[in-house]
Symmetry: D2
């Protein structure tokens, strides 16, 4: 179980959310409170939009809490839309290519969850990715495969429908392989303008995900970074928060 | 183009070949002389047989020339059969999982070469690996995929036939994808007893590979570690040196 | 606060203590139970005696719990005397040179504790190290400085007296600098034959340290690796366990 | 011998100089042409001014040529003043704390050269650093010690005089220690506005350093990044180029 954070709004320094708050994402890397795994030390990543349509990425295999590069970059980079993620591996190796967020063209994606019995369906899930997209697969995680599979199912045109279709297919593959462990999917996606935040699980128990919007902007987090849960809205199980640039936030149902 | 070394014989310290000689493998990591790429700084690995049927592995993403752990381990580990490899990436990421040697059960494999146009045939080459073996794939390199494909084609029963069949199939896949770049395969394989050393290329220009045997044991190297090429025998292009434990070395033809 | 383990006895695989037990040192890297800091993810190290008078070292900046090299090396290296350490930094950087154990000639040392207000007395503590020894300083930790200062005070001839004298001097330096934080020193030392295990603190609250001896050998641990505290003897506060090779274990007083 | 680059002028993407040119600094990390050491693979670093008076830093122990984070950050960060450095160690460990540039407050410094016989005078050179500044020492390199010694000698008020005095003192320490190897100092310094570029050696053979100014800005480089040496001006041996923000570049003599 990982922890993550997404922001869109007035350009702010990444450190304002990643490092500074009492229960910042860096703090959550060492002391997560709403996850079964309190330590998220198997790598981390940040991704931000600035000079280009495609995001910048800094992903590293060390724990976030002791990474001086992370603190320095977050104290200097200002962005109107960024993702940050601290990783607790569910089995795959700790390499940069396995760290979130993942970028495909101008899209960026990060995930907290897992495909139960991954090694038993990895082959079939990867088969959902067409050749052209398969070239973009750099690591070996289930998360990256789910993203590419969703791209193949129309993510560019309709993210909610594509993610729903992807989850349904993966679940069928898991059923066919007689995998009893659940498929859990708490994730965030962006095209550099809109943010989509998903929360779904085959057993009805996805990881937590909260959001809040104020004059500065919209924040999506695994755990409230200020410790005041009453000020945050939980994304409903089976739901998706859609936050278009310049438009009102709305909640849709997955599946 | 990488550089590698294999040894089997009287138990010796790894450093006797990896670190001590004038043109040792560590020296070759910084100053290879027979390769187009003089620097092999994209990770390294050692693998050795000792306490178990399966090999021990130390693989790291740093350059070999400055790795104090490598020097320390090589100064303390004594083995009757070991592999060592310094990597110059042909495109895939520098991660531990992409560093040689690769181990599958009691087998160990390392490679210096490349599948031309890899991203264009990766999917098809990976499709040669059956589900059961695919679970063992940890990285994203062409080298690891070639090994697993050869295992699927009978490597355990007849390594020379399996490697030949694998190379023929991959070449056909490359032809079908209209890839003009060559398939080059200079590699070493062991089951913990016999060493097989292969040298083949679709354009007849595989990377160099030499061998020498004396009272202490057998050594296979990309470049002579003592700088005296006249004392080493080149493995013929299209050939394979087979060195069974306790038996005479013989040369066989591939394909 | 770190966690560590020392062993001397019948040659055993390192994994028998480092990886296999229910509350092994690798397990303690993620879930220490007797320390204020439950996570010891700021690097680790193993050191062992085998082929030479000087120990072999493998030290790395990653968390121990996910390091595949550590598991592989521990599954292949058999030793009659080894140290293992997982680190929770008290402020200095996470670099290999700052990871324990530290080796000086045939001696090996590891530490769990801290010099309160280190940056304020670092200069003076380093001044206790003579020029010749100062060349051996590779990192920037208080732990390595304490070791070298003790060497200067006669560690080779009388470890208990030298450690006592070093602690007394450092405490005076801290007093002179009006440092209110305590000096805490829970440590293990070996010359490749005898093991010394120290437990002392200026505020009477050193980190835990236990030992046990049976037919196989002697084990010193920060936390009992089997979870059965009743089977282990706590090293007394202000005391030192001295375990000479082939002789009876005895307890001495520090200071 | 390392390679480095400094820029001040119109805000540009770091990649315009670090990654894009034919003989960019990343290219020089693998194929330097004017240094005895062609490979600069022992770590790298970038430092830039943007949101704050103090610079942002990204320093890593891997070779620059294969670091995907470096390429991504350089493609997204735009700055009016930045340094970049690729390292070839002259003996000290490869750790982040030993990678250039070094930052002290709003100052930033990078170095290509060495203190001959460093381990023999390290203690005395470090003694030039007052206690208050010594706390800022994070690594173990000669380069960082030279910077802090120069700060103690008045770098803030008069950089050229302070660097000259520092070099004179270090040379006397080396003479006193009967060190025959030279002191070589090719370096760049900035306070976030002015750039100073130094080139001096006790044997009259400092590493190369060039500069060029056009409408976009000023560039200082170890090797011309466009391969056209005729378009660049060599900084004279024993000299210093001073480039104040908004003022004319002038050349001063050191010592």
């Amino acid at each position: 179980m990982c922890r993550f954070l997404a922001y869109r709004g007035q350009p702010i320094l990444l450190e304002d959310l990643v490092a500074a708050p009492a229960h910042s994402l860096i703090e959550q890397s060492l002391h997560a409170t709403e996850a079964r795994t309190g330590t998220n030390g198997d790598g981390f990543g940040i991704g931000w939009y600035g000079e280009r349509d495609t995001p910048g990425l800094y992903r590293e295999v060390h724990p976030a809490w002791s990474d001086e590069n992370l603190r320095s970059i977050c104290s200097q980079v200002r962005s109107r839309l960024f993702f940050a993620h601290v990783r607790a591996s569910t089995g795959t190796a700790t390499s940069r290519s396995n760290c979130h967020p993942f970028a495909v063209g101008r899209y960026m994606f990060m995930h907290n969850g897992q495909v139960g019995g991954w090694s038993g369906v990895r082959r079939q899930v990867e088969a959902m990715i067409p050749d052209q997209l398969y070239m973009a697969r750099q690591g070996t995680t289930d998360s990256e495969a789910l993203l590419l599979a969703a791209v193949a199912l129309g993510l560019i045109d309709d993210p909610v429908a594509a993610i729903s279709a992807m989850l349904a297919r993966v679940r069928r593959l898991m059923d066919a392989a007689a995998i009893g462990e659940p498929l859990r999917f708490t994730a965030a996606l962006t095209d550099g303008a809109t943010i989509w935040a998903f929360r779904w699980a085959s057993d009805g128990k996805p990881a937590t995900l909260y959001w809040k919007e104020d004059d500065t902007g919209l924040i999506v987090v695994s755990e409230p970074i200020d410790g005041h849960r009453e000020d945050w809205e939980a994304i409903p199980v089976g739901g998706c928060v859609i936050a278009p640039a310049g438009g009102a936030v709305r909640v849709a149902a997955l599946m």
